[in-house]
Amino acid sequence: MYKVKVFVTLKESVLDPQGTAVKGSLHRMEYSEVQDVRIGKYLELTIDKNVENLDKSVREMCEKLLSNPVIEDYRYEVEEVVAQ
């Protein structure tokens, strides 16, 4: 089995109102060192190890559904796991 960890974030050019609100809160808590906060999504996919082309298939999933390429970027990490 593969465990694929997908990270979806807003593109740099897109303002993130949630991140801005969280940054404001951190500043009020006196963490003035925080320069920027960006909020994203984390997805974990468990994928059969017999998949033909893992990268191709994960990229397609990310581009078609898991992220919206107009406003979001994605990256992913693959871990091989032994089924119990």
Binding site: S13, V14, P17, Q18, K41, L65, L66, N68, V70, I71
Partner: protein, 227 residues
Amino acid sequence: MKFAVIVFPGSNCDVDMLHAVKDELGAEAEYVWHDESNLDRFDGILLPGGFSYGDYLRTGAIAQFSNVMDEVKKAAEAGKPVLGVCNGFQILLETGLLPGAMRRNKSLKFICKPETLQVVNAETMFSSAYEQGEEITIPIAHGEGNYYCDEDTLKQLEEEKRIIFRYKNNPNGSISDIAGILNEKGNVLGMMPHPERAVSDLLGSADGLKLFQSIVKSWRENHVLSS
């Protein structure tokens, strides 16, 4: 003219939409469940507001892969009028029938109130019953109506006069005050404000009715007068 009101799990403005076109406009209309695979019997498609599939992942993201959306794409290609309101607009963006994407409202709040819109282009099949530049009152009700597109797309939308409605006092942070946009061909309109909630004076405004009247007028000109 017969309208389909598409119902997804989580749609909640479908009843208002059907009421608007059937009872106030006087057209034929039917609910169509999201797994329907043939829309040939309809002349116009209405995608109502709500929270299709709970808005999981992103607004409209799951709905774009419903069976019925393949049919909606076909209807759009065939030149039939397709109107997406609120969540319907979000679905049209995810499907790629309209350009751009929605972000959370700038204030991060769900906003539900009447808004003043300006009719920016009154020469479309959705707006011909309005006067150019007319100001109308239509309610909004959304948490993610902050429209975004890149600069090239915005330039294209402006040059091709595909921005149909603009907010007078931008409530959500939308780029260029955009409240509603049209596709290239001119038969797919997406808008965040709810015209179906403004179809009689009892509701506070009847300004939305002209939008539906425009659709019927255009359809009659193309189908009834010529035959």
